[in-house]
Symmetry: C2
Subunit: 448 residues, 2 copies
């Protein structure tokens, strides 16, 4: 099968069914009626807009998300906007609950659809926003004006592809492609195949500017200038790793088109015995810090987890405990996993001094260490060297010490580690297999 | 005691006694008479010259070396020169034995003095030499013309200092200061103290050109242009390490002048138990290659041992077995000692591929490893990575393999290792303490 045949099959499979569309239309109508009624009770005017993929028919079969924005005048205070937003939300979605992004909003359920009801300011342009959500209605309007039914069908295929390779989603856990970015790319290139064919040869940084109005540069590997805001990169959240992953899979699917690649089965979870076998085969020493996951939204949790992983990993490396690989797992417990090539070091560590000829520094170095309980100073090449006692000769001793808290840690992670952390070493980590079998599967059978 | 007082005491102690001088004079007279007689029997003219420190009164009390050179006309063939040289040698020193530097000569004993009887060519200038020994008579003549009795006394003090700090001798084992270099430095600066005071602030490379006639540059840290040959660096053999050592001790003796520093006791040899205690305290893994010492002169043996030590040490490092320190010991057995911080590595090793965006290289890398029995390829940052089986997961396994012979080895060392090598690991090396107790003492109590 050629790529076009594969894409046609995928297109059919991801298109919402007539029954789904009908159910959606009914739910949206019910919802908008209720919101309009709630707005009418207020003493300020407000515009109600259905946005997002269900508004543009770019949703995938089986997805059930409705996003409705309520745009208030910009002269309304932020406090009042938040209050009105919540008031409407609770009136429309009596069983809904409050969430918090840049400001609070209400999320709930109508006829089996997940509804986000978000208040924002009706700013004059996307460049003049007061908070990030104010942009959404502009994005929605821009796309609605331009997307053809052909675009819409291709967007679904492209989105399915990005989901299959785990790079769909602009949250800070995924660091992938946002829905808006996905739609802009298809609009720009015309089809999924055209996007993929362009991507295989991208040399990051890649800059795409649909309206040719970009006003500044960005440090990101992929830059797509927002058609509604010349100062914003729509792809700012996309990581270099996910862009590389996308390029790899673009080449792969074009070289070997197949429907199955769009609908991968999730990996089989590894058992305790599987994890044990991998550790033995690799001959490494896993070291895990395990603690109750802090109660934060993913957009706050994952950046803190990654910062902590990098901070501790760098310090382990600096202290000579070579980290072969490291990873984060999280559900109710969070795991910072370091797979060490070298879990122990000698009691002494080499400390290289200045060249003997650089008299002032050399004399200071020599005088500092001459009477210390150390080997040396002696001369190696043209420099002084001393072998001093190492602070920690096992990685575990370092993790158990207060020096752990001098590394770069997310604040909530530091608090959690201080309160209640367990260290697992070597085969002890196999006890995590019950909870994190799929994460272990991805870790021990890594693929692009 | 100030430095001058210390130097005065040392001067007295190292000056040959009247009885020694008388014995030397008698031995030299006997020797020269015999050599002249032997030369008279030849059908070519030749000049007999007493050279070296006993010829210039710069020998230390207790030293007993007489060097006599026999200078032949340059039209004599090399073969004839060697034959005549040996013939005279055996006639004068009937119990002597042949040695070999650039060409053969005879060494033996007269009245308790060690005699070297060396044939050379009477070249017109030191620059026109046919072999290195042809220079010696020029050096001898240059110094004899210029050295005052004060210089001579200071040279003995300086030589004693250099011996005390183990940097005296231009052989390739020591890589230190030659006798000629030592005498030139005192001639140039006027006294031991003046040389030391200059040396404390040297910023290598340091260039000294007594006759101000140097014709080229040299890559060495100390350059002393030969007054008898503008194209030669007298200090070419001096290593950067020994120059640094000299600077350290120059500062030390000037800051804290003491007679004892000129006459250090040799270190107490370490016992098996001492070596064991050091290994435990350091928490390292010593790994020793032990083999019968090849039958070579030190000037050939030590460069080969050091080349092999560096070649194997670099390869151990490259394979992840961090070498904390390495050293060579030799008597009848030779020891290449590697003190490892990391004696074992995991079974897998990380292999970093190209950035995914560099399509041609990236595709080649991916295709190469996709079907191999390895972890990955996966993506880390913007690059492919694969974790492959490591060739050797212990340093010992590497030393036991044929891969050892792919490192840079001296040819005689390679032959010895192939024939009969033993590997000692960890506390097994303590069995070397009986033979190498002093070497272990220098190794485990290193000083400048």
């Amino acid at each position: 099968m050629g790529f076009d045949d594969v894409a046609a099959v995928v297109r059919d499979r991801v298109e919402p069914s007539p029954a789904e569309r009908e159910a959606l239309a009914e739910a949206v109508e019910t919802l908008l009626t209720r919101v309009e009624a709630a707005v009418a009770d207020l003493d300020v005017p407000a515009t109600v807009t259905h946005v997002g993929s269900t508004a543009r028919d770019t949703w995938l079969r089986g997805e059930r998300d409705i996003d409705v924005f309520v745009e208030f005048p910009t002269n309304l205070s932020r406090g009042a906007l938040e209050q009105y937003g919540l008031q409407i939300g609770h009136e429309v979605l009596p069983e809904g609950r409050e969430e918090y992004a840049e400001h609070p909003y209400v999320t709930g359920d109508i006829d089996g659809f997940a509804v986000d009801l978000v208040p924002c300011y009706a700013v004059p342009s996307a460049h003049a926003i007061e908070s990030a959500v104010d942009r959404t209605p502009f994005h929605s309007a821009y796309l609605k004006e331009r997307l053809t039914p052909e675009h819409v069908a291709e967007i679904r295929v492209f989105k399915q592809f990005l989901q299959a390779i785990c790079v769909y989603g602009s949250n800070l856990r995924t660091q992938g492609f946002s829905g808006y970015l996905t739609e802009l790319l298809v609009l720009e290139f015309g089809s999924t195949k055209a996007v993929l064919e362009a991507a295989v040869d991208w040399q990051p940084p890649v800059v795409i500017d649909p309206e040719d109005h970009g006003e500044r540069s960005f440090p990101d590997p992929l830059v797509v200038i927002d058609p509604t805001d010349p100062t914003r990169n729509v792809a700012a959240v996309l990581s270099a790793e996910n862009l590389a992953r996308f390029q790899h899979h673009a080449r792969d699917i074009l070289a070997n088109p197949r429907v199955a690649a769009f609908f991968p089965a999730p990996p089989e979870p590894l058992s305790v015995a599987d994890v044990e076998a991998h550790i033995t085969a690799r001959g490494t020493t896993p070291l895990a810090l395990v603690f109750p996951t802090p109660d934060l939204v993913d957009d706050e949790l994952y950046p803190q987890l990654r910062k902590s992983l990098d901070g501790i990993g760098d310090e382990l490396d600096r202290r000579g405990f070579d980290v072969l690989r490291q990873s984060v797992f999280a559900d109710t417990r969070a795991v910072l996993l370091f797979e060490l090539a070298v879990p122990t070091r000698p009691r002494v560590t080499r400390h290289l001094g200045p060249p003997v000829a650089v008299r002032k520094h050399a004399e200071t170095f020599y005088d500092t260490y001459a009477d210390e309980d150390a080997y040396g100073p002696f001369i190696d090449g043209n420099r002084y060297v001393v072998e001093r006692a190492r602070e920690f000769d096992t990685a575990r001793a370092f993790l158990e010490s207060d020096a752990l808290f001098e590394t770069r840690l997310g604040p909530a992670i530091e608090a959690a580690l201080r309160e209640d952390a367990t260290i697992l070493e070597g085969q002890e980590v196999t006890e995590l297999a019950d909870a994190f079998g799929v994460a272990f599967a991805r870790y021990f059978a890594p693929s692009p």
